[in-house]
Symmetry: C2
Subunit: 306 residues, 2 copies
């Protein structure tokens, strides 16, 4: 069994203040990071240390410079991606974020996705389905919100809720839930065949870290709005949710649309990792600026006379 | 006749490098800036110098510090706005951007709106209507995209195209176009009555500045994608467009939803001004953090035992 990153209480070493962004950059090994986060055959969620920082040898302070560089790269590549879509490139990117309450999904949107032009982003936060949505199959509302060409779609929660909370609370018959994994795989394969890079990220926090984050919400009036008493009820079902996630990984981490489990007790690492995953997806598109679709000298002449 | 800001070739003084952000902040007079940009009775577009910087005594370098401070404020207020909507506050903000090609609408989205959490923004770029959209009245597609509670909607072009390009190219009978101004006023009044702050911004560039920006698009392969030969055809109709804008201001700058004409030959000023308008709109909502909607000590106790 190949564990992608192993548990170690010592792995998250205290960040050293690094004055040099070169030194910080040197602490990142992007290919290694991505490789180590990807869920493969034999993966176990319980084997992942939520405080680890796979592929990154630095600390929080080092992550600042690395993050700033990556943000600038992301922003530049996103513009090329968007530009290409104006001239026939129909590719899309879809980032799916899952994780327990307080795992930092919103932070990824704000801090990672927030670095790119809002014109190029379609963000959807999926809540409990409405009565109207429940009249349709579980993928219906999802299909309606997949990103169009040149766009980065971001799903904060997704169709995976239907095999997470759906499974834990037995919101549908077991056989129906069981069937959903295959339906999801087929759906995602369709997206991929249609030119979508699907990036599935699970933000993995420990139960202790969740407790600390929920306590913070209860202790800061500017965080009350994020607190929901129902979160405690879900928290009591922690092992059932971890099992449900494990099943998700076993059944839906495909070659076409693999899962990445990101240790997320350290918010700065989770953000850096999500950023690298997005960056890799954009780089892999091998984008170029669209060539002129007009006669440049002729247009210059036309403009010169107006 | 009260001109809101008068023409002066000298008004845009060379920026001085200012080491102090206090000094930079002192150069901004927000209330004065907003007051001077607002279109009022007797306004004439031809009286506005596109290179002027009303309400800001500094230069480009000063604008950096001012902009950074305002971005942080915007981001903080937007979070309160979003949070409030989770607990019954149904207010919305809608920023409408209009301007000639190359006037910098996209730059406002990227640099000003881009500072806030993507979760709180709904951006729509309205293009030429599709055949399906043309089957409906001109406000149909607009109504479908107005922002919901707690969201900042951004329209890059809008229903005003139907009285701008619509008027210049006579895309509908004159009587029908004439009727649209009243329909727009009624529609916007409805939005306001429904709790929407409507901010209408026209980015005002000079014909010379447009020429320079279009030339840049023709001279940089990374800008080709933004160039459209049709822009030259529209450019030839410059005076007709200026007239159409003047009519828009006369007919649709209402107390409920006033227009702001932002001199935009200096991109940094246009961004700073749009930022101040958004900031004022958010400040005027007098937001507070939603109070706890649960028993704080009881929840702390519940969490302590899980």
């Amino acid at each position: 069994m190949a564990k992608s990153h192993t548990k170690s209480k010592k792995s998250g070493k205290k960040s050293k203040k690094s004055g040099s962004s070169d030194a910080a950059a040197a602490s990142l090994r992007p290919a290694d990071l991505i490789e180590r986060l990807q869920v493969r055959e034999g993966f176990t969620l319980s084997g992942v240390d939520p405080r680890s920082t796979p592929g990154f040898a630095g600390g929080k302070s080092d992550s600042v410079a690395v993050g700033a560089t990556a943000s600038a790269e992301l922003s530049a590549l996103q513009e090329q991606f968007f530009a290409s879509s104006r001239f026939g490139d129909t590719r899309k990117i879809l980032l799916i974020l899952q994780g327990m309450d307080g795992s930092g999904k919103g932070g990824i949107v704000r801090h990672v996705v927030g670095a790119v032009d809002p014109q190029g982003v379609e963000h959807v936060a999926f809540k409990a389905p409405t009565p109207a949505e429940l009249k349709h199959d579980f993928l219906w509302r999802i299909r309606r919100r997949v990103p169009g060409p040149g766009l980065i779609g971001v799903f904060d929660r997704s169709h995976y809720e239907d095999v997470l909370i759906g499974r834990v609370h037995e919101l549908a018959p077991a056989a129906e839930i069981d069937e959903r994994y295959d339906l999801i795989n087929r759906f995602e394969q369709e997206l991929v065949d249609d030119g979508t890079t699907v990036i599935k990220v699970m933000l993995h926090i420990s139960a202790d870290e969740q407790k600390a984050r929920l306590f913070e919400r209860l202790n800061r009036p500017d965080k009350y709005w994020k607190y929901n008493p129902g979160d405690i009820d879900e928290r009591k079902l922690w092992p059932a949710y971890q099992d449900a996630f494990q099943t998700v990984f076993e059944r839906t981490s495909t070659d076409a649309a693999p899962w990445f489990v990101v240790p997320a007790d350290r918010k700065w690492y989770a953000r850096l990792a999500a950023q690298q995953l997005l960056l890799r997806a954009l780089s892999d598109l091998e984008l170029t600026w669209p060539p002129a679709h007009f006669d440049v000298p002729a247009e210059r002449a036309r403009l010169g006379t107006t």
